[in-house]
Amino acid sequence: MPTVIKDGAILARDRWTVLREATGPEVLQAVPGRSFVLPLAFWLNFRAQLEEYPGERGIWLDSHQTPEPIAADLAEFAVIGLNFPVFADGRSYSNARELRERYRFEGEIRAIGDVMRDQLYYMSRCGFNSFALRHDQDAETCLRAFTDFSTGYQSSVDEPLPLFRRRGGVRRK
């Protein structure tokens, strides 16, 4: 199980299991007491059968996928995982912003995959509020990443007003 930082704190226990493969709905009863983050294909393929498995659930999108196919279903998910196959793949940053800003998703958005200390600040700016750290990451060190910068120029999820709307238009002369 990866260490998870959520809302700025290290979780003592994380109830979510990320299913990497879209096997079949029967796996959902495999571990009582655990909740699952399903791959997109799982949701799309087995949605009708999922009613037999009550309880909260999540979904995860790979970096080449977009939230559009689940736009009408977002209320079904407590958590949406966004995958980083490699840390240099930046597509999930756009997905996070779109989930927050366009679809107004207010649940947990979790970074999964190749998640390292040096990405966490930008991720948090784009709307991620939870982070499943890569196994070799030191969680205490990672906590410091969120204060790498005190503010940013852009409008983003954590600060919807760009700096120019907060500066107050002070002129030089």
């Binding site: 240099a88 040096d118 784009c126 852009q154 700096l163 500066r167 107050g168 002369k173």
Partner: protein, 552 residues
């Protein structure tokens, strides 16, 4: 120029601290090479052939004398006493120590400079026409818009891991000296017949392996919508740009593979969603940014041109320099002066610590304490009184900085090439020097007139060879350096890509080929027609035939 406030200062200091920590973790083995790579690149640090190279941003080319002195200090204390101006309004230091990079960045921060996003797969330093704000025929000063884009793109959290590097140029002059159309995004300021000024935005231009001229994605964008329009393009590119092949990852390939119509639809659909959001520029912010770029205190009704007329008459060397290196200024009584960094025997764009300090003093004395660097690798003093041009020229002469080469065949754009760069297939600096030595008669050069020669040491095209009137590309043929020559390129408003002449040449043949090309031009030209216009009139064939005549 723009002056940092407490926010800018604080974020820059935080960046320096962040990179210091990252470098320490890398040195301690806690970050792998692969993990440190994008971090150091986005702080301007390459690992080069001989040593690390630090690329420092000069946002839209503007420098204060204080900043120039700091660059001199860095060249002296952390390098071998010189720096190199690049083709994207940056300055590179070729010999710093990796461990000292955070210290250099701290020094730069003292004078509101940095190396942020000067490399890596992110939005790079925004560039513009180096005559911005002083050109007589300008639509509007592009610098405030560049500053707005600089701030928006700096530390942009969504676009730090793009498929590939991303370059934006802004241009407000009809001539276009910013190579706007060969940028990933090119922004033009356009004046409508009503007098209103708006933006036209191109995307998908670029050089490198696949040279492309950008296409219009937004025909008409109101000023307040600039950043939302840019953000819409970036989001589509971040999502859909190819990540499976780094040679197909630039936005130009996405535009081509998607088709410009479809790409435009996607961008506009995205734009409709974010247009009018908080990112929409406010009048107050536009005014604030413009307030940093107001005219200096020009002397009105200057009556000093008698001095100039007399010196132009009496001193032919000065007159030649004046004809080439001084351009019309919007303010009567002033001129725009280019200090050429193309003297023979010096790598194009190279400048020593002593020259930097010397130029810093000149900017204070002659040009309100500010200078610009151009993508053509020269330095510009933008606001010099005409009556003082002669004094300035005399001072430049004491440091061999009076080369009257602006726009001439010897004003060569040249990448560092195989002497420094790990990517290069061939050397480029010695080729530039050989051409300069071959064409060493100032009167003849002036007679040949405007002729842009661009040299790249590999197909990554940092020397912009695709848009040279004559472009020279270094290629490797079974371990030997050869040079492929193209003609007819231009990065100006009527941009065009150069066409390859034919089989490549050994290095010692290049000056002779140049001579043949010039001979064809001079035989064919009509009146004052430039090389480029002659080429456009008579076409490729006469040049090709003349060059390859001997070998058939």
């Amino acid at each position: 120029m723009y002056v940092y406030d407490e926010y800018d200062h604080r974020m820059l200091a935080e960046r320096v601290a962040q990179f210091r920590d990252q470098t320490a973790r890398y040195v301690a083995g806690k970050l792998s090479d692969a993990e440190f790579l994008p971090l150091r690149l986005q702080n301007g640090l390459y690992i080069q052939r001989l040593a690390p190279m630090l690329r420092v941003a000069i946002p839209y080319g503007l420098l204060s004398s204080r900043q120039i002195r700091k660059l001199a200090f860095i060249a002296r204390h952390f390098d071998k006493g010189y720096g190199h101006l690049t083709t994207r309004q940056n300055i590179q230091f070729n010999w710093p120590e990796l461990a000292e990079a955070p210290d250099i960045l701290a020094h730069l921060a003292e004078v509101e400079m940095h190396a942020i996003q000067t490399s890596g797969n992110c939005i790079r330093n925004v560039t513009t026409d180096h005559y911005a704000g002083v050109a007589a025929d300008e639509v509007e000063d592009s610098r405030p818009w560049c500053e707005l884009i600089r701030q928006w793109s700096t530390f942009h959290p969504e676009f730090a891991h793009l498929p590939r590097k991303f370059k934006i140029a802004v241009c407000g002059t009809p001539a276009d000296q910013a190579a706007t159309q060969v940028h990933d995004i090119g922004v033009y300021l356009i004046r409508a017949e009503s007098g209103e000024v708006f933006f036209r935005i191109l995307a998908g231009g670029g050089l490198g392996r696949t040279p492309v001229i950008g296409q219009v994605v937004f025909n008409h964008v109101e000023k307040q919508d600039l950043l939302t329009a840019l953000e819409a393009i970036m989001r589509v590119y971040n999502r859909e740009g190819r990540r499976d092949n780094k040679y197909k990852a630039r936005i130009k390939i996405l535009v081509r593979e998607t088709g410009v119509e479809k790409f435009r639809e996607k961008v506009h659909a995205e734009w409709e969603r974010i247009r009018g959001s908080a990112l929409t520029l406010t009048d107050a912010e536009i005014e604030r940014c413009k307030s940093f770029f107001i005219d200096p205190d020009y002397v009105k009704r200057l009556n000093g041109s008698d001095v100039l007329v007399e010196k132009l008459r009496d001193d032919p060397e000065f007159a030649r320099w004046h004809r080439r290196n001084v351009r019309p200024h919007k303010q009567p009584g002033y001129g725009i002066v280019t200090i050429s960094l193309k003297q023979t025997g010096v790598a194009p764009g190279d400048i020593t610590d002593g020259q930097l300090e010397f130029i810093a003093d000149l900017t204070d004395k002659y040009s309100f304490g500010e200078a610009r660097v151009s993508h053509k690798q020269n330095i510009i003093l933008a606001d010099v009184e005409q009556r003082r041009l002669y004094d300035l020229w005399r001072e430049l002469s004491t440091q061999s900085l009076q080369t009257p080469a602006l726009g001439l065949l010897t004003d060569i754009i040249c990448c560092p090439g195989g002497d420094f760069c790990a990517l290069a297939n061939a050397k480029s600096i010695p080729v530039a020097e050989e051409i300069q030595r071959f064409f060493d008669d100032a009167a003849e050069l002036e007679d040949i007139g405007d002729l842009q020669v661009n040299i790249s040491g590999c197909m990554n095209a940092c020397g912009h060879h695709h848009v040279g009137n004559i472009g020279i590309l270094g290629v490797d043929k079974r371990g030997e350096e050869f040079y492929q020559i193209s003609i007819g390129g231009s990065s100006a408003r009527e941009a065009s890509l150069a066409k390859i002449l034919g089989p490549s040449f050994a290095r010692d043949e290049v000056p002779g080929v140049m001579r043949t090309l010039v001979d064809v031009y001079q035989a064919e030209k009509r009146q004052d027609e430039s090389f480029l216009n002659t080429y456009r009139r008579i076409g490729h064939e006469p040049f090709r035939q003349a060059v390859y005549a001997d070998s058939h």
